[in-house]
Symmetry: C2
Subunit: 262 residues, 2 copies
């Protein structure tokens, strides 16, 4: 097997989900089929929605039971052309979407620090609001599992579950939690947020801080005495690492996480 190696320890930052070095081997088709079967089984029991994301191929397999209708998903199976299920994300309350996004970035960063064999022990839980189409919102439970990693440490297959919430009490925030499933222990936020600083390099933080102050790419290039192309490249890397679609979203997330310089 010729797998691209992970960056050496000196590199410090965590690569974006889709930018991890992936490799091919014969056993992967089997593992993918197994995980697709697991996702289907889950849906068959509790009627929820399960999205199996393949970060190596940047596609998702979405299975929906009876609860799919509440998320405007009519078909029992859909192949999505992205590892991120935007069709569900765009139904979430914007505040919850942001919080959920940060939780997943932290979950990802924490998982990357763990040996591959330890990763299936930990799952990520939150309760988010989804639009009911009438201007109102309904609570749903959202869970994330990283089912498979490549031998080189790249996280490959993730399973996201969407099910109705049993707790509909009115509370602020998404009540995000990372749990050790073997023991039931809830991991303290201080423990998993310590990887936050490894999400972006010093240079990226510097550039995003300037974006946050309203500077355009040309102004940033001039201020830092670097080429405009280099600024573009950094911005693209930031967007990719933050798993967002534009720099404004990246700023919002980095600010909420306290990553930016004053």
């Amino acid at each position: 097997m010729s797998c691209p190696r992970m960056p050496e320890k000196g590199d410090h930052t965590i690569p974006a989900l889709l930018d991890q070095p992936f490799c091919d081997d014969a056993s992967q088709l089997e593992a993918l089929e197994e995980c697709r079967r697991l996702a289907q089984s889950y849906v068959q029991v509790d009627g929820s929605v399960a999205v199996l994301s393949d970060f190596a191929s940047d596609v998702s397999y979405m299975y929906a039971g009876g609860f799919g209708k509440s998320l405007h998903i009519e078909k029992p199976f859909t192949l999505l052309p992205s590892a991120f299920e935007d069709c569900i994300f765009h139904l979430l309350h914007p505040d919850d979407l942001l919080e959920r996004h940060i939780l997943e970035l932290r979950y990802f960063a924490m998982q990357k620090e763990l040996p591959v064999t330890e990763r299936t022990k930990f799952s990520c839980h939150c309760r988010v609001r989804v639009s009911n189409g009438d201007g109102g919102y309904t609570y749903i439970n959202h869970r994330i599992f990283y089912l498979k990693s490549h031998q080189n440490g790249s996280i490959w297959l993730s399973l996201c579950l969407y099910a109705p919430a049993t707790d509909n009490s009115n509370r602020a925030g998404i009540d995000g939690k990372i749990m050790n499933q073997d023991t039931g222990e809830i991991i303290a936020v201080e423990q998993y947020s310590r990887y936050d600083r490894s999400l972006l390099t010093g240079r990226e933080v510097q550039i995003l801080s300037l974006v946050a102050k309203g500077l355009g790419s040309k102004q940033i290039a001039a201020k830092l005495h670097i080429a405009l192309y280099t600024v573009y490249r950094h911005r693209q890397n930031i967007i990719s690492k933050m798993q967002v679609t534009n720099a404004t979203e990246a700023v919002r997330i980095a600010m909420t996480m306290g990553l930016l310089h004053e």
Copy 2:
């Protein structure tokens, strides 16, 4: 297929889970295999404990992931010689066990009133305390699904899931809920507790009320002018319908449900 028919409507009371009229047909082995596979898949994803109970054969198939250890279950698979997983039940806090038991009786009674095809829409949720072995208790989530019914309406295969609770806040009671999984609607307790009265016949209520007052079987026979054997038979039926092991437990449950005469 020669299936024993369900009692006619005039019979009123709901049979005990194990006393339903079961039948055999070739497709059942396949359905059982499918459900065993579903239970295993569930455990594989979230590492919890899943018990598939076969009420026709009075056995259970227990699958345990990493969380099994917290429930003193060491092996990934155990065939239990009963449809009820006493090895888990005896770890529950007695108050929670009673409340959970009543919730399941009501869930069963409600499901019996539904067409077979509607039953997989509804699941039963609660949070119970399990002994941690040091005199303390830990919260876990418990869910029940009736996966398969026979064509004659008998509930055949149930799946019970035991997973760590994400909500460990100190609240009284088990927060029991029956949910429509397609819509997320929580069924009001008034709606499903209206079947309570159909759990026991008038005669059974009369006899259990006398047991509750401390009368022995001989005294009950004398008071009601019936044979001692008849009292024994009624007591056995009550115990069976209440899914308990003795009359004292049946009294406790019936009292909590408000079924007994003053």
